[in-house]
Symmetry: C2
Subunit: 178 residues, 2 copies
């Protein structure tokens, strides 16, 4: 892994475009992976991320109990693994083994980074007020990592029913916003 | 406009990939447009959308008061207008006039559709519990419209600091998820 520390003030640029992410959790020494697309930035710094993790998912109970996770951002080379993680449940499958993904120790949380992912965001739950009604967690990003050797990372973006948009070209415009 | 009614059950596929959107509001006969990227799906049907609209924006007060808006999805052809709407404030500028965009009557809300946008989602605020702390609104999509004549709509996705990713190719994978 060539991952380097990444400034928290720039995390929004990783999540705003809406990539499919792999959320890792860990409990009692056992790590799990969940595929997720329902997330949004909520604050720049410290970065806050809101996300929906359904209570039908194994990760829901683990996140609720441990209050920690890592948001890992995969690129198109991992598309088969991303879909595999989405099609299976951590109740039955060790997804790291099943999909050949490598857990790496995080610095601030017990959930692991996924070594093969382009970027990883170590997070803790800071607000669970909407969990009961919407399964909506508000996370603070404590530490961010990025693989700076990847020059053209192509994230994937869920369109529904097995279709994914692969990130295309980048354009520059005279935006005055962050 | 060639917009046709679009099933509410499929709205998630429009917002999950994380496009930049143009949010329209209206109050006292005056419509406004705001550029926005901080949104997430929260439920499939009826579709719920969570979004952050900063209290520094003119649209914040209008949305809070009227509880109605339209989420319009632009494509790359409108990139200059999208950035223009982001760089200006509805307090000073009539953005429809300034950027040559056409308001069209919605069916369920007073805020207008933007005729030039690929898709438009008429919304009402259904939960404002996190507005005070995070400027986070939960919207229900009441009615969805799509321009079915657009065969290759290329949404744009904010990367920060004037950079936008243009939607690339679509791949199909054997996902068992919606």
């Amino acid at each position: 892994m060539a991952k380097k520390s990444f400034p928290l003030s720039r995390v929004y640029g990783l999540l705003e475009p809406g990539p499919v992410v792999l959320v890792t959790t860990a409990q009692k020494g056992r790590a799990n992976i969940m595929t997720m697309s329902w997330h949004t930035m909520m604050e720049f710094e410290p970065p806050l991320v809101g996300c929906v993790i359904s209570d039908r998912n194994h990760s829901f109970g683990v996140l609720k109990a441990t209050k920690e996770c890592v948001i890992n951002i995969p690129t198109v080379e991992l598309a088969a693994q991303v879909v595999g993680c989405g099609n299976t449940s951590g109740r039955k499958v060790d997804k790291f083994k099943a999909f050949g993904l490598t857990p790496a120790a995080a610095s601030r949380v017990k959930a692991p980074l996924i070594d093969e992912c382009y970027a990883s965001l170590e997070c803790k739950v800071v607000d669970a007020k909407l969990v009961a009604k919407y399964c909506f967690f508000i996370l603070e990003v404590l530490k961010a990592w990025i693989d700076t050797s990847r020059k053209d990372p192509r994230t994937i973006h869920h369109l529904g029913r097995g279709a994914f948009m692969v990130a295309g070209r980048t354009i520059k415009l005279p935006s005055r916003k962050k």
